[in-house]
Structure formats: C-alpha cells, structure tokens
C-alpha cells in the first residue's frame, strides 16, 4: 500500500471520520476549531439567554441562585476560552499558512494536539454538569471562594482541570504559530510585507506563550490546594494572601483580553483595504501599535484590582499604564478611518461587520478608559457598567471582527459565497440587538446594579431597563439564527466563489477556493505588501502542479489525539481519585501510560513517510 505513482501516498485514508480524527492538515484543523467554537457560541449564548430571562424581572424565580451563578461562570468561561480563542485559532489555522505562502504550519502534529487538548478540556469542564454541577465561582475564580473550604462541590475541580488542559493546548498552538510565522514565509515575504492578520497572529502567539504560564501556575496552586491540602490560598489556617490569586490571574488575564481582540483587529485591518480599494493607511504604525499594545498589556493587570487596597502608589502607576494603552489603540482606530478616507467603499457584508467592529470596539475602549480613572472605578467596579464595557469590547469587538472574518473568508474556505442579502439582515439585526442589549447596561451600572446578582428587588428600580436588555438579547439570538440559515443555504446552493471574489490583495486569494491540501502548487515569490494588486497578478493563473506531482505533505497521525486523550484522562483520574482513591490511581496510571506511549510513538513516527505497521497496530 506504500509508494505508488512515484510519490509517497498517504498510508492512512483522509476520508471519513477517521480522516478528520487523524488529520494534521492546518485547513481541516482550522475548520474543526471553527465548528467547535460556533457550537460553544450557541451554548454560551443560550446560557446568556437563560440569565437574561431570569433578570428580565425583579424577584424572578426562573432559576435559583446556584444555577444562576453556574450560568454566568460557564457563560464567561465558555465565551472566552471555548468561543473567542478557538475562533481565533480557526482563522490562524486556516489562513496564516495561506497568507504567508506556506504549505502547512511548522509542526502539523503539534497543531492537531492543540486542537484535541482544547476540545477535550472543554468537554471535561462541561462534563461537570453530569457529575456534580456546573462550576459557580465566576470566570476568574477568586480564591478563597474557590478553595475546598468554601466550595465543597467538585464542580470547581472540573473548572480548574478543564481550564488547565485547554491552556496547555493553547500554549502549544502559540508555539506553533510563532515558529510558523517567523520561519515558514514564502520567499520575499518579509515581515514588513506580511498582511496584518498574520502579524496580529504572531503577536497574539507571543502573548499566549508568555501569558499562559502564570495562569498555569495559578491553576496548579489551586489544584494542589484542593487535592493535596497545600496552603497557597488558605487564608485562615496558614496566613495566605487571597490577592496572590488575583495577581496571578490578571497577570494572565489582561494579556488575555488582548489575545481576544488582536485577531479581530488583524481581520479588520485586512478587510478594510479590500473594500475601500486602497492599501492600509500607515501599515507600519498599525503593526507597531499592535506590538505596543501587547507589550503594555503585561504592565496593567492590577487595574482589575483597584478596589482591593493596593496602595496609592501602585494604584496610580497602574492607572497611568492602563490609560497609556488607549494611545496605540487610538492610533489603530484612526489609521482604519484613514484607510477608508479617499477610498471607493463597497458596502459588502464583511465590511459592515468591520465597521461595526471599529465603532463598537471604540465605545468599549472608551468605557475602559473610564475604569482606568480610579475614583470612577470605585463606583463602577463589579457593576453592569463593567459588564457593558467588556461586552462592547468582546462582542462589539471580537465577535463583530470574527464575524467579518467569517463573511470575508467563507468563500475561500468553502468555495461558495454567502448570501449578501441575508448577511446584511444579519448585520443590522445583530447591530441593533447588540446595542439594545448592552447600551442600557451602562445606565444600569450608573444606577448601581451590581454584576453577578441572580435577583434584585422591585424597590431598586432596575426592572424596566433589565427587561429592555433581555429583549435585546433575543434580537441577537435571531440574528445568529440568520447566520446559521445563511451558512446552511450557502452549503446547498451558494454561488461558486472563484479564486478571488473580493479582488483581495493577499496571497490566500491566489489559489483555488477551497484550497487544495498542499495549498500552493508552486510556492509564490513575493515582492510587495499587495502581491495581487501591485503586479496585476489577478490575471496570473496559478501554475499547474509541477511534473513530479503533488508536493510532499505530512501524513495523518493518530498520536495527537492519543496523547490528548491520555492527558485528559489523567485529569479525569484525579477527579475520580477524589471519590475513590484506588480507582483514581488506576485511571491515572493507565492514562499516563497511554499518554507516554503516545509521545513515544509520536517521536519515532516520521512526519511523512509510509508506515504500514502503524496501520496494523491500530486496527
């Protein structure tokens, strides 16, 4: 079954479910990420809708306190770690190699491992629903509430372990994209010729590999406290300081919010030039601003802790640093506007979402600057004003930006166009629903409504606005349904896209849609920032496959999913260990062995060569 027709054929079929499970193709992994993220978006959205039903009226008994606390915890955790991050990863995976002119990422199997760790971690955390209950400690899990003294239920263990596993997967992906972008660019594709999206991916990947370790440590310490009785967060018994957790979490957490927004900024920076028919204004500044944002992002974490009694000097310093981030961000916003200026603006759906991004993100950024004014934050912290801020940046920013990306690159990914008509309906409904939901939250915040309350009473007079907000949330839901309809419709009878439906300037538009698994029959040599504009390469048909046949691509592999499974089940064993020591140890031992065996197999498996034994070994 090995070598035929002169090149090495894949020994394992890429068809069917097994094809997807063993895939190491960055495009397929991208699609896996994307689909998973979308499903979790529906889950997180339904959680939000349930919260909104509960809050629509005062003294509501639709859900009880525990359920509500679980809802916002899982909503926040889901949206951040299982929606926006993997959605970003979906675009990184599918597009970065295409945009920089590479055949795949630097480490295809590591890439698959990242995905499987993400999905297994997400499943593990959600599995808590069947075993105990959903975690209910808030998405930033402040100690000592999360220690076993105050959270007896094992749901917090699921939260810790699930997050830990997803974190490992994400970090692995971060390494992969750092190397891919630094090392795998096509000839002539210098860093300063790279489109903005790969640039922002590079910056985000650095943020990931440097910001996740503190979270990993924080979670490990908490895990040890909960499982092995260490004292890291034991305030009463051992004199620990609860602020340790907050520092570690936010040292990760603030860079994390830029991990969530920079991919969207990259998308928007590539969508705007295409639809204004002119190059990005101030390319160098926009790139540089992204780097500055990321760098400053490591020095502002304590703005989440202004009310914890940091001391005057520290508070002032962190306030100043936080405000400083407004400057590079502003530079980006103004450069985007200048990109539109003087253009010939085509109001296609991707552009609408990009414009939604700029306007709504900016409003969210401005409320962020208000929080940075410490006296104001003492009145805003932990109120709906904060909830409004972060939904403006997360939904108005990340989700709008990512949706722009969906409309922009869907044709490239599937070969079919989405309907412009439904797309525009989707945009306007979402835009209106979004503002109806989150704009009044500012007022609720001003009126003193705290966040994370499962109920409020009539005399607090927040009922009217809350009802309004809840209605808005359902308008968003309808708009999401339109997106689903659009995708389903397009899958059935979407118009064929062709190579470059938007007349874009970047490399991904120089190959067929959807791209063949080897991406480029011949690797292009790049000579400018806009290879498809500057040289009228629109007319250049991609060259046919060279005579010696398809390029040599990595083979599928079982090991990534085996290793991911082993790691996840070690965590599962820990959870079982809580209830049944010996069974737990047994599961840990077995899955540890599976994981080690997986790593061993991986190391000695050639990246791409026939290996008939492997097929035997596993069937």
């Amino acid at each position: 079954m090995a070598a035929n027709i002169g090149i090495l054929k894949r020994p394992v079929s890429t068809d069917g479910v097994w094809g997807w499970i063993t895939t190491v193709d960055h495009k397929r992994i991208g699609i896996l990420y994307g689909v998973s993220a979308f499903i979790f978006f529906l889950v997180g959205g339904i959680e939000a809708l349930l919260m909104r039903v509960q809050l629509a009226q005062p003294d509501s008994t639709f859900v009880d306190a525990g359920t509500f606390n679980a809802l916002f915890t899982m909503h926040g955790t889901t949206m951040v770690f299982m929606v926006v991050m993997p959605a970003g990863a979906a675009f990184f995976n599918f597009l970065v190699p295409l945009m920089i002119g590479a055949r795949d990422v630097a480490f295809p199997r590591l890439n698959a491992l990242s995905y499987w760790l993400f999905i297994f971690g997400a499943i593990l955390m959600n599995f808590s629903f069947f075993k105990a209950a959903f975690p209910d400690v808030g998405w930033f899990g402040y100690a000592p509430l999360t220690t076993s003294e105050y959270t007896l239920s094992s749901s917090t263990d699921y939260w810790v372990l699930g997050l830990q596993i997803m974190g490992v997967g994400t970090t692995a992906a971060g390494f992969n994209f750092v190397i891919t972008i630094l090392n795998m660019r096509a000839p002539g594709m210098t860093l300063m010729r790279m489109p903005l999206f790969p640039w922002m991916t590079l910056i985000v990947s650095f943020l990931i590999i440097f910001a996740f370790p503190p979270l990993t440590i924080a979670l490990t310490l908490l895990l040890f406290d909960r499982f092995f009785g260490t004292n890291f967060f034991d305030t009463a018994g051992a004199g620990a300081d609860p602020l340790l957790w907050q520092h570690l979490f936010w040292i990760f957490g603030h860079p994390e919010v830029y991990i969530l927004i920079l991919p969207a900024m990259g998308i928007v920076s590539d969508v705007l030039p295409t639809f204004s028919r002119k190059p990005l204004f101030g390319y160098t500044t926009v790139v540089f601003a992204g780097a500055v944002i990321a760098f400053l992002g490591f020095g502002v974490w304590a703005h989440h802790m202004f009310t914890t009694g940091l001391g005057a000097w520290a508070t002032a310093a962190f306030a100043g640093a936080t405000m400083a981030i407004g400057v590079p961000t502003g530079v980006k916003v103004f450069n985007w506007l200048a990109t539109l200026w003087g253009g010939s603006i085509q109001f296609k759906t991707p552009l609408l979402f990009a414009l939604g991004f700029i306007s709504m993100f900016m409003l969210g950024g401005l409320s962020g600057v208000m929080h940075a004014a410490v006296p104001v934050d003492t009145q805003q912290q932990d109120t709906y004003f904060i909830v409004a801020h972060f939904h403006y940046v997360l939904f108005g920013g990340s989700i709008f930006g990512l949706t722009a990306g969906i409309y922009y690159w869907f044709p490239k990914m599937t070969g079919r166009m989405l309907s412009e008509r439904i797309g525009k309906w989707h945009f306007w409904l979402m835009f209106i629903g979004f503002n109806a939901t989150f704009m009044p939250m500012h007022i609720l915040g001003v009126l003193g409504m705290p966040r994370r309350v499962y109920t409020y009473s009539v005399d607090q007079n927040w009922a009217g606005l809350n009802l309004f907000v809840s209605v808005g949330a359902f308008i968003i839901a309808v708009s999401i349904l339109l997106l689903i309809i659009n995708i389903v419709r397009s899958a059935r009878k979407g118009e064929a896209a062709g190579m470059n439906p938007w007349a874009g300037a970047t490399l991904e538009w120089a190959i067929p849609s959807p791209p063949p698994h080897y991406n480029f029959a011949v690797i292009p040599t790049v000579r400018s920032q806009h290879p498809l504009w500057d040289e009228e390469a629109n007319a250049v048909e991609p060259p046919p496959l060279p005579a010696h046949g398809e390029p040599h691509m990595p083979d599928p592999s079982y090991w990534p999913i085996v290793v991911a499974f082993g790691i996840t089940m070690v965590a599962g064993g820990l959870l079982i260990w809580q209830a049944n020591t010996w069974l737990g140890l047994f599961v840990i031992a077995v899955s540890g062995f599976i994981g080690m065996r997986g790593i061993y197999g991986w190391v000695f498996e050639p990246v791409a060569e026939e290996s008939a034994e492997r097929v035997h070994a596993h069937h």
């Binding site: 480490f107 090392n183 660019r185 040890f224 260490t230 004292n231 890291f232 011949v522 690797i523 040599t525």
Partner: protein, 218 residues
C-alpha cells in the same frame, strides 16, 4: 508576485531550524513558568504562622548539589562538542555523565525532602513555606527528571544509529533544555537558598547567641 521553480520546501525564512527555535520559544515560556513559581515563593516569605522555614535549608549540602548540576551542564556541552565532531565515544561518555550527575542531583533533592519531612515535619501541607518551597523545587526536580529521561533516550538511540553527527541538532536541543534547567537552579540557589536563608540563618545565630548568653556561656 512570481512563481519561481526550484524553491526548496524545507528552507526556513530565517535560516534557523524550526525545532531549535521551538525550543528557545519554549524556554522563554518556561521562564514565565518558573518566574511565577519563584515569585510566589518570595511573596510568601516570612508569612508563616507556624512551622519551620528557611533556617532549615542546608547551604553546604545544597552547594554540593548545585556544583553537581553545574558540572552536568559542562558535561552536556562536552557531549555536544563530541557529537558535532563525530566523536561518538566522547559524546556517549559525557552524555552518560550528564545523566548520572542529574540523577545525583535528584538524589540530593530526595534526601533534602525526606530530611525536611523527617526532622522538621515539613511537608507541602505544613505551612506556606512548605507549600511554595516544595512545589517550586518539586517542579524543578520534575524538569530535571524529564531531562534525564530525554538524554537517556538519546543515548540509547545513538546505539541504534538513530543519533549521529548528521542530526546532532537533536542533542543540541536537548542540551539547551538541560542548561535551562541548570540556570533555573542557579537562580533558585542564589535567591531562595543563599539570600533566603541568610536572614534566617542570621536570626538563628542570634537566637543561639541569646540563648548562650542566657545560660551564661556566651
């Protein structure tokens, strides 16, 4: 844009090897990992409500184990130099030394841990010092152990002909990891042991003086 023929699929934009770059990126990330652990330890210094803390650290013993680890790093570069010149004998000898020295270091650490538990009752559950110190050094020890396993596998593979002068990069990358584990220990030894125990030892000495004076022998 052009389509030139004859572009090597395996070239990299920077001319640097992917795997080596991956290792450096990983080490950068691991800096954050150990930095956070050491930071946590330092933050929690002298906050213990009860139980032993830095005064129980034994500087002479740890100086020896530090020395052993440093010398293992030296052995590592010698091994690499060996394989890069195609001198497999030299490579194997020094790699074995690295593994042995690494194991000796682990031995010291196990001795330290059991000693702490047996003589001072210090476990990760005892107090903040126990938690931060043992988890931090424990993670370091785990890194050392992984390194030993890795180098063992390389040594083993070299006998099967899978590691040779042609892919000495494999050894170089493992070596980077090994040296990193060494420099983490340099920091821990300096900051946690020497600086950390200095005050404590001083206090212990003072206490001893006071006690001596109190019983009239000082």
């Amino acid at each position: 844009m052009q389509y030139l023929s004859g572009i090597d699929d395996h070239r990299t934009s920077t001319g640097l090897d992917n795997r080596k770059m991956l290792m450096w990126a990983f080490l950068g990330s691991d800096v954050m990992f150990f930095g956070t652990l050491i930071g946590t330890h330092l933050i929690y210094r002298n906050r213990n409500l009860s139980g032993p803390q830095e005064e129980i650290l034994s500087i002479p013993i740890t100086t020896i184990s530090t020395f052993v680890l440093l010398m293992s790093s030296l052995a590592m570069v010698l091994a690499l130099a060996g394989i890069q010149r195609g001198n497999m004998g030299q490579f194997r000898f020094w790699t074995a030394i690295v593994c042995i020295f690494g194991s000796i270091f682990i031995g010291f650490q196990m001795f330290e841990f059991t000693e702490f538990a047996a003589h001072y009752g210090l476990t990760p559950r005892t107090n903040l010092f126990g938690s931060t110190f043992l988890v931090m050094t424990g993670f370091h020890g785990t890194h050392v152990a992984v390194g030993i396993l890795w180098l063992w596998s390389i040594l083993f593979a070299s006998y099967k002909g899978k590691i040779h002068q042609g892919n000495s990069l494999q050894v170089e990358i493992a070596g980077l990891y090994w040296h990193f584990v060494d420099i983490v220990w340099i920091v821990i030894f300096g900051v946690v042991y020497l600086i950390g125990a200095y005050g404590a030892e001083g206090r212990a000495l003072e206490d001893a003086h006071h006690a001596a004076r109190a019983v009239g022998i000082g």
